[in-house]
Symmetry: none
Subunit: 407 residues, 2 copies
C-alpha cells in the first residue's frame, strides 16, 4: 500500500490545527566565495527559537539530484508522490487554476507566452522582453475579440502576468495529447502542434489548436511588442484526490501568486483572497483561524530573489517572515511545519536539487537539539534527509489526526 | 516513473566533466582488536582536502545487510537498480565481456573454473591451487582444439586468468536457464547441468552443455594440475540501456581488471586499454581527458588486499591513490565522486554489506563540514546513508546536466 492510501484509512477529523509555512526556495548553498547561506546570514531569532522546540531535517522533494518545478515541489509537500504519472499536472492547468479560472472537467488548457519573432519567424525573445502585464491584457483582449469559437470549440483567452497567458479550449472530447509549439529556445521557429496519439479526439484537437495558432499569428503580426505567441503544457484537470477526502482536513491556502493558488485549488484547498504581501498573509491567517484546521501559508519572494541572485533581498524576506512568526505562534497552532518546496540558491539563480531545511514543531515532536533553522543545523537534525512526501503523515501524526496502523 | 527513466527525460549534453573514482572495497570496519579502519589509518591529505570541498555520506549498494558482488555493486553506482530482474547480469556474461570478448546477442556464456577432483570425482580444490595463467591458457587451447561444435552450436573457450576461463555457446535459440555444475564447495562432486524451465530451447541447451562437460572431463582426465572443470553463471547479454542514451554521456572506463571492464562495456562505456597499474590509470585519464565527459576510474587492489586480510597492503593502495589525486584535480573536473562498489573489511576478508564512504565534489555541491574521507567522518556527512543508485543523478545535477522536473 502506498503511504497516501494508508493515510486515507487512518486519518481522523479533530480540532487540532496544522500550519505549513512554505518559504519558497528558502534553501541555499555555501560556495567558495561565500561561506554562508542566506538563511545563515539572516537574523532569525524566532525561527531559531522554534527550531529548539522542533524536530529538524532536510527534505528531498523528488529524488536525489532532481530539481523540482513548483508543481511537483508543492504536490510533494502535500503528500502526493510527484513521480506517480497520475500526479502529473500540466502547465496549462496550473496556469489556468492560478488565475482563479473555473476549469471544468472537460476543458483543455495551455500556457501561452507572447513572444517576438524576426521577419523569418525565428524567435528573438521568448518572453517578449518581459512584456508589461497591461500590454499582455490588451493583447489577450484583442485575440479574444476575434477568436471565440473554432469548429464548435469555445476559445477562452486570459492574461496571467507579464508575457504569460492561458488559453482554454472548451468542448467535448478534447485531448491533451498535443505537442508544445514552444521550442523553449531562441533562434528557432515556433513548432507546429502535433497530436501524440492517433485517436479521433487527438486529431480533432490538433486541428483546432493549429487553426488557433494560425489565427493568433495573423492577428499579432503587426504588433510591436509581441508579434507571435507560443503554447505549451496542453493539459486537462488530473482530478487529484483532495485533502478533505484524503486526510479529513478543512484546508485553507493563503498564497499571493497564481501558480501556488492553482496547486492549492487542485488538491482541494479553499484558496483565500489576499490583499497585499507577506504581512497581509499573516493578517489573513489570524482572521480565518477558527474556520480551518490546515493552513498552507506560501511566501513567494525568497524564491524570486533567489532566482535573481539577490542575496540581500532573500535575506530581507527571510527576516520579514521571522519577524511575523510570533503572530502565528500566538494562535497556538498544534503543528507548524517550516520548509520550502525546493531550494533556490542565489549562486545558481534557479531552483536546485539541494534538500530543503525542514522543521516541524508540536508538543509531542520530540525536539532534537537543533538551535537554528538553517541548512547546516538541519543537517544535524534527527530526521536526516527524508522524502518530502513524508511531511504530511508526520504533520497529521503530530496533530493527533492518525489512528494506529493495524491491531 | 522510476528515477532512471526520469533522468533519461531530464539529461542534457553539456561540456562539463564527471569523474567516478571507484576504490574497490575501500570501506572497512573497526573491531575489538583494531580500533581504526584502513581508511582511518592511511595518511590521505589529498582525499581529506577534497572532503572539505565535498558533500559526504555512506552509500548502500543494494539494501541493508546485503553484500554485493562486483556486478551489482558497480551497476548500482551507474544508476541501475540491482534488484530489478532486468538488470541481472550473469557471471558468464561478465567474464566474457571482461576479456574483451565480442559477445553477440544470441551467445550464451558460462564462467569456468579449472579444478582438481580425486579418484572418486570429488572436488579437492575448487581453484586447482590458483593455477598459473599460462597453464590455464594451455588447457583452454587443448580443449578448444578438440571441441569446436556440439550439435550445431559453436563452442568458444577462452582463458581469463589463473584457474578461470569462459565458454561461449554460439548458436540460435540457446537458453541460459541451466543450473551451475559448480557446487561452490570442496568435498562434493561437480553437478550435472539441468534445465530450469521446460522449453525446447532450455532442453536443447541442457543437452549441449551436458555433452560439453562430458567431453571436457574426458580430455582433462589425465592432466596433473587440473583434471576437471566447473561451470557457473550461464547467461546471455541482458541488453541494459547504455549510459550515452540514458544520461547523454560520452563515458570512458579506465579499469585494469576484466570484470570491471566487462561491466563498463555492458553499460555502454568506451573501455580503454591500460598499460600498468594505478599510476598508469591516472596517466590515461590525463591523456584522454578532452575526449570524454564521464570517467569511470577503477582501483582494484584495495579490494584484493581486503580479501587477503592484508591491512598494510590496503593502506598502501589507499595512500597511492591519495598521492595521485592532485593530478586528477589539476584537470579541473566539474564533479568528482569518490567511493567504492562495496566495503571489503580486512577482518571479514571478503565483500561486506557495510555502507561505503562517499564524497562528491563540485563547485555547487554545498560542502558539509567533513574534513576527512573515512567511515566515521562520512557518517557525519549531510547525505547520511543513501542508495548508491542515487549517485548518478546527484553527479549529473552537480555537473549541470539535468533539466528541471515539471513546471
Amino acid at each position: 500500500m502506498n503511504p497516501m492510501n494508508m493515510l486515507k484509512d487512518l486519518a481522523l477529523k479533530t480540532d487540532s490545527k496544522i500550519v505549513f509555512l512554505v518559504i519558497d526556495g528558502v534553501g541555499g548553498i555555501r560556495s567558495a566565495n561565500r561561506q554562508r547561506t542566506e538563511l545563515e546570514l539572516a537574523i532569525t531569532p524566532h525561527l531559531d527559537d522554534l527550531a529548539r522546540s522542533s524536530i529538524c531535517g532536510r527534505i528531498m522533494p523528488v529524488w536525489y539530484g532532481i530539481t523540482p518545478g513548483s508543481g511537483p515541489g508543492h504536490l510533494s509537500l502535500f503528500g502526493y508522490d510527484p513521480l506517480e504519472p497520475k500526479h502529473d499536472i500540466g502547465r496549462g492547468v496550473l496556469e489556468a487554476l492560478g488565475i482563479d479560472f473555473d476549469l471544468q472537467k472537460t476543458d483543455m488548457a495551455a500556457r501561452g507566452n507572447f513572444t517576438k519573432v524576426d521577419k523569418k519567424g525565428i524567435i528573438m525573445n521568448r518572453r517578449a522582453g518581459r512584456l508589461p502585464t497591461e500590454k499582455c491584457i490588451a493583447l489577450c483582449e484583442k485575440l479574444q475579440a476575434k477568436i471565440t469559437n473554432i469548429d464548435g470549440v469555445e476559445i477562452i483567452i486570459r492574461p496571467v502576468r507579464d508575457y504569460r497567458f492561458v488559453v482554454v479550449f472548451r468542448g467535448e472530447n478534447l485531448s491533451s495529447s498535443i505537442t508544445d509549439t514552444d521550442p523553449q529556445k531562441v533562434g528557432l521557429a515556433p513548432r507546429h502542434p502535433e497530436a501524440t496519439e492517433d485517436t479521433p479526439s487527438a486529431r480533432f484537437t490538433q486541428q483546432v489548436v493549429a487553426k488557433f495558432v494560425k489565427q493568433c499569428f495573423a492577428i499579432l503580426k503587426h504588433e510591436k511588442d509581441a508579434n507571435a505567441m507560443l503554447l505549451r503544457g496542453f493539459s486537462k484537470d488530473p482530478c487529484l484526490p483532495k485533502l478533505p477526502e484524503l486526510y479529513k482536513l478543512t484546508p485553507a491556502a493563503i498564497a499571493n501568486y497564481p501558480l501556488y493558488r492553482g496547486v492549492a485549488k487542485l488538491v482541494g484547498m479553499d484558496v483565500l483572497k489576499v490583499e497585499g504581501e507577506i504581512e497581509a498573509e499573516f493578517d489573513l491567517v489570524e482572521k480565518v483561524w477558527p474556520k480551518y484546521d490546515f493552513f498552507f501559508l506560501h511566501i513567494k519572494k525568497t524564491d524570486s530573489y533567489g532566482e535573481d541572485g539577490n542575496v540581500e533581498g532573500k535575506i530581507i524576506v527571510i527576516e520579514q517572515v521571522d519577524a511575523l512568526l510570533p503572530r502565528l505562534m500566538a494562535l497556538d497552532p498544534d503543528v507548524v511545519v517550516v520548509t520550502g518546496d525546493h531550494s533556490t540558491p542565489t549562486q545558481i539563480q534557479g531552483h536546485s536539487w539541494h534538500p530543503v531545511p525542514f522543521m516541524l514543531y508540536s508538543k509531542v515532536c520530540d525536539a532534537d537539539e537543533i538551535g537554528e533553522y538553517s541548512e547546516r543545523a538541519c543537517d544535524q537534525g534527527s530526521l536526516g534527509v527524508f522524502p518530502a512526501t513524508a511531511i504530511m503523515s508526520l504533520a497529521l501524526a503530530n496533530a493527533g489526526k492518525l489512528k494506529k496502523f493495524g491491531a
